[in-house]
């Protein structure tokens, strides 16, 4: 780990440890502070921290404020009926959460997706990843007190929402990716519109970099903060941008290419420093790379053809089980589905990136300053609703 700001990191850790070792967690001198659920910097999530002066010495996450029992609900509906409610946890990234589900169900039921359908599915997945990442970036901006960075991505997100709207008919929860392909073909002029939007968007990304990532104050606040080493990242099993920021070039699209991703030429973006800045910057690099992927998808897409495999009205397969994942905006998103041969799944387990990343929160918060809490917490790419399912 040859970080440039290593000295800063070491200093921060040393300082943090100095404070932590002096007290036990239930010392009377500590102030217990509740962050969430009604906190501007928490989301639908709560964690309790204990403060010694300006340093956090204890952290206990308590998710579950938006737990809806998605996994139990799946057992009561058949494979197709499950799609609309499964995308509720991440309405901004709903294409990916149904993508993974569709892959798993296709494997259970045994259907092949037509080639054009695979391209459109990958395209919605990339578009939705942009929508999610922009939203995430906006909130990261306001968490650090940068209000312009809140407004700009929120506005530019509309571009992709418009595209998805014209493609799927819904702004956020599309219910568009289904087992066997996608619901509809792309509309007239979609390719040109998308290319135009991407060209504009890439210009905007440069501006984001200038106003946000190259801002010296932002650098001061995020560099060397919340250091997650490569070893710790692997041990804690984090995923997505958090993992890639710590120097592990892991991307499901690369290591386990689903659909047509093995025909796409792209690079896994990662950094080695493992601090908050890297965790904030890797999604940004991903967005840039994603524009590249979208261009290739549009180029290589077959001109015509089926977009959906013929599916029996109430599909069912033989008894068995499967575990399929895709790369979502928050990392690997896996479905473990057990089928007992009936049209309804016997057991569905959704393994989401948020739920895996939040394990790193106590690890990173303890020993850091209170002011670093938002930058560490939101850089973990944690979506509370998805984690609760």
């Amino acid at each position: 780990m040859a970080g440039v700001h290593e000295s800063k990191v070491d200093e921060a850790i040393e300082m943090g440890m100095q404070v932590v070792k002096e007290y036990t967690a239930d010392d009377d001198r500590l102030m217990t502070l509740s962050v969430g659920p009604q906190h501007p910097g928490s989301g639908h999530f709560r964690f309790t921290i204990k403060l010694d002066g300006d340093y956090i010495v204890y952290c206990d996450p308590d998710p579950g404020y938006v737990h809806r029992g998605e996994e139990k609900m799946c057992e009561y509906r058949n494979f197709i009926q499950n799609i609309p409610h499964l995308e509720r946890p991440v309405i901004h990234d709903s294409a990916n959460i149904t993508y993974s589900y569709s892959l798993a169900v296709e494997q259970l039921v045994g259907i092949e997706v037509p080639r054009r359908g695979q391209f459109i599915r990958a395209l919605t997945s990339e578009l939705d990843r942009q929508v999610y990442t922009l939203y995430w970036l906006a909130i990261y901006g306001i968490f650090l007190g940068h209000s312009t960075m809140f407004m700009w991505p929120t506005a530019d997100r509309e571009l992709f929402i418009d595209l998805l709207d014209s493609l799927t008919g819904a702004r956020v929860t599309h219910a568009f990716n289904i087992p066997g392909g996608v619901r509809n073909d792309v509309p007239e002029g979609f390719k040109e519109k998308t290319l135009r939007h991407i060209a504009y968007y890439e210009k905007r990304l440069k501006e984001y970099e200038d106003i946000f990532y190259n801002n010296p104050l932002l650098r001061q606040r995020t560099e060397g903060v919340g250091l997650l080493t490569k070893e710790d990242a692997i041990k804690l099993g984090v995923t997505g941008s958090v993992l890639r920021a710590s120097g592990v070039p892991f991307d499901v699209r690369k290591s386990e290419p689903y659909d047509i991703y093995n025909e796409i030429d792209f690079k896994v973006q990662y950094m080695r420093t493992g601090d908050s800045f890297a965790r904030a910057y890797v999604p940004f690099l991903d967005m840039k790379e994603s524009c590249n992927i979208m261009r290739q998808l549009l180029d290589k897409m077959p001109e015509s053809g089926e977009v959906r495999a013929k599916l029996q009205p109430n599909p069912k397969g033989p008894a068995g089980e499967t575990y399929r994942r895709v790369e979502s905006g928050r990392g690997a998103l896996g479905y473990y589905i057990v089928s007992d041969g009936t049209p309804r799944p016997y057991r569905v387990k959704i393994s989401v990136g948020s739920f895996r990343n939040i394990l790193a929160l106590p690890h990173l918060l303890v020993g850091s300053k209170l002011a670093d809490m938002p930058s560490i917490y939101w850089a973990l790419n944690y979506w509370p609703v998805e984690a609760d399912r």
Partner: protein
């Protein structure tokens, strides 16, 4: 096209001066092998039964190594491209998990899922183990399954082997009532604080109105 990409790569290398970013396709001896996954066979959408007829070689080798070590303690359920599942007894799970971590390169758990089987009066807990450290095995998932009785569901916790199972095991405890021995906090996690019912993912728990 490729030139453009190279330019882009240079730019990403350069722009934030002190943040050393590396692209994965950078020509270096250490990273050369990672080009391979592009041609890796995807777990394609064939039917399950057809797949199990002829297990792929790489995955077969992994499982064979495990079987050689532990013999008939391991019950191989299936071997598919990138996916393997083995069933073990609760008393062996800890030793096998340590072996998987230390000798096979599976360094983290992606998910821990519990499935209730009232017909067999058993609960199956399945750990999906993945590997970040070994570059040839990034796509592979080893499913380590074990079964315990429904009436007195107790299993050894794998938290000392895989740190990443902490919240997943805690969730399995509250959702299925499996007590993980050795886990520091077998406590409520996602459910409401005043939850006073049976664990909700057991089959006999019915959603109201259904």
């Amino acid at each position: 096209m490729s030139q453009d990409q190279d330019n882009a790569a240079e730019k990403t290398n350069k722009k934030p001066e002190n943040s050393d970013i590396v692209n994965r396709t950078e020509p270096s001896a250490k990273l050369a092998s990672v080009q391979k996954p592009v041609t890796k066979p995807a777990p394609s959408t064939n039917t399950l039964t057809k797949k199990e007829a002829e297990p792929p070689a790489f995955e077969k080798a992994i499982v064979d190594k495990l079987v050689n070590e532990f013999g008939n303690k391991i019950n191989v359920i299936y071997i598919r491209p990138l996916r393997m599942k083995i069933m073990v007894e609760p008393r062996d799970v800890l030793a096998i998990a340590i072996f998987l971590r230390d000798n096979m390169g599976f360094d983290h758990a992606e998910s821990v899922a519990g499935t209730d089987y009232p017909k067999d009066n058993q609960i199956e807990v399945i750990y999906h183990l993945g590997s970040y450290g070994t570059e040839t095995m990034e796509g592979h998932i080893m499913a380590l399954a074990t079964r315990t009785s429904r009436n007195d569901a107790r299993l050894p916790s794998l938290i000392d082997v895989f740190r990443s199972v902490e919240y997943h095991e805690r969730e399995t405890f509250e959702m299925l009532g499996v007590y993980f021995e050795g886990h520091p906090r077998n406590e409520r996690f996602l459910l409401p604080e005043d939850w006073a019912d049976i664990p909700p993912l057991r089959r006999e728990f019915r959603i109201k109105g259904r």
